[in-house]
């Protein structure tokens, strides 16, 4: 009992001494009233500590929780300004996205323009023009260039060069281009679109277009868009000759 009492008294005395010290340390009178309020509350808490312990158990833990909670609240209220590097990173991301969108748009525009030009100039039906864009570094910025063009001609009806054995398993739609009714065979399904311009080997279902045609188209595209003829590929659907 006496030990407990002496502990309690020691606590009170220590807090009061602390309070006196703080009053000495405070720089001006204006803050004194407010500091005194807080210190007075602390002294009150110390004096009340036996009752508090009786009623609430461990109140210091509660106090600590309260203070940390307040600290967190304060830090939450702080405005988080994005740093310069954050902004730059975001700008870079946005720029990349914009570039990609612009490139996709450009690809589409190029494809339709090329198709129109080829149809107009060579007076041949063209099924599809697939332009592939690549990125090259010019100074600071990446600029797109036409990496490859793949021109697909519809199958001709009477083609003596139709050497590729048509696979009749997957018979596809009738092409809407041209006067003739053509039966298209396509075995490479999804691989149809992703043709590599560097790949000169005709895939199954495809064959090289007649040299005259392909040369004409190549020259046209090379002149009109400044693409190297090597990266232009002309292919033709392997149509059944019947």
């Amino acid at each position: 009992m006496i030990a407990w009492l002496s502990d309690w008294l020691k606590d009170i005395i220590a807090v009061i001494m602390l309070a006196a010290f703080v009053e000495l340390l405070l720089p001006n009178k204006a803050m004194l009233r407010y500091a005194r309020l807080v210190i007075g509350l602390l002294i009150l808490l110390t004096i009340m500590s036996p009752i508090l312990r009786l009623l609430q158990g461990d109140f210091t833990a509660k106090l600590k929780d309260g203070i940390t909670h307040w600290d967190q609240l304060e830090s939450q209220h702080e405005v988080k300004m994005p740093t310069l590097s954050d902004i730059q990173k975001k700008a870079e991301d946005l720029g990349k996205q914009q570039d990609n969108e612009a490139a996709a748009l450009m690809e589409q525009a190029l494809e339709s323009a090329m198709k129109d030009a080829v149809v107009k100039q060579t007076e041949q039906p063209v099924e599809a023009v697939d332009a592939t864009l690549g990125w090259e570094k010019q100074g600071q910025k990446m600029t797109p260039y036409v990496k490859g063009v793949l021109v697909t001609l519809p199958a001709e009806r009477k083609d003596p060069a139709a050497s590729a054995a048509p696979d009749e398993e997957a018979v596809k739609e009738v092409a809407a281009i041209g006067i003739d009714v053509e039966v298209k065979t396509d075995t490479s399904g999804t691989g149809e679109r992703q043709a590599d311009p560097g790949n000169k080997e005709p895939e199954a279902g495809w064959m090289q277009a007649s040299p005259a045609n392909s040369k004409e188209i190549r020259n046209l595209l090379a002149e009109g868009w400044g693409i190297s003829p090597g990266s232009i590929q002309v292919r033709q659907r392997a149509g059944s000759s019947e």
Binding site: K10, F21, L25, L42, M48, L55, Q56, L63, K64, W70
Partner: protein, 130 residues
């Protein structure tokens, strides 16, 4: 003998400020501000020893560390507010100085909120029938 250094710096700065003030009031203010900053930083290390004494006292008597933390925060806020307000006051902006002091008072009161909440909870718990 830091006191001689500090008083010397203060005197020299005062004379310089008086000389400069007639021609360039802006430089007089800057000189005053930097002298204040210098003395403040020079003495902030000395306060360290006082704080150590306080910590020692708190540890030995076994009062919760959270009390000491709160009290030290109050002292820190008071010093920073005083310093900033004084510089602003030197520049003649009395209204801004009083706003800074107001902010300091509010922040000190915010420290009291968790303590008040514990006391209020206890008092409510003491009341019968709750």
């Amino acid at each position: 003998m830091e006191i001689i250094q500090i008083v010397g710096v203060g005197l020299i700065a005062t004379i310089l400020i008086i000389v400069v003030r007639e021609q360039k009031p802006l430089f007089a203010f800057l000189l005053a501000a930097f002298t204040g900053l210098f003395i403040f930083i020079f003495l902030i290390g000395k306060i360290d020893s006082v704080i150590k004494v306080l910590e020692d006292l708190a540890n030995r008597s076994g009062i919760p560390s959270i009390y000491l933390k709160t009290i030290l925060k109050i002292i820190g806020i008071a010093y920073i507010v005083e310093f900033g307000a004084q510089i602003v006051r030197d520049a003649g902006q009395e209204s801004i100085a009083s706003r800074i002091e107001f902010a300091g008072k509010v922040l000190i009161l915010v420290m009291a909120v968790p303590i008040i909440s514990v006391i209020v909870e206890t008092v409510i718990g003491l009341l019968p029938g709750s």
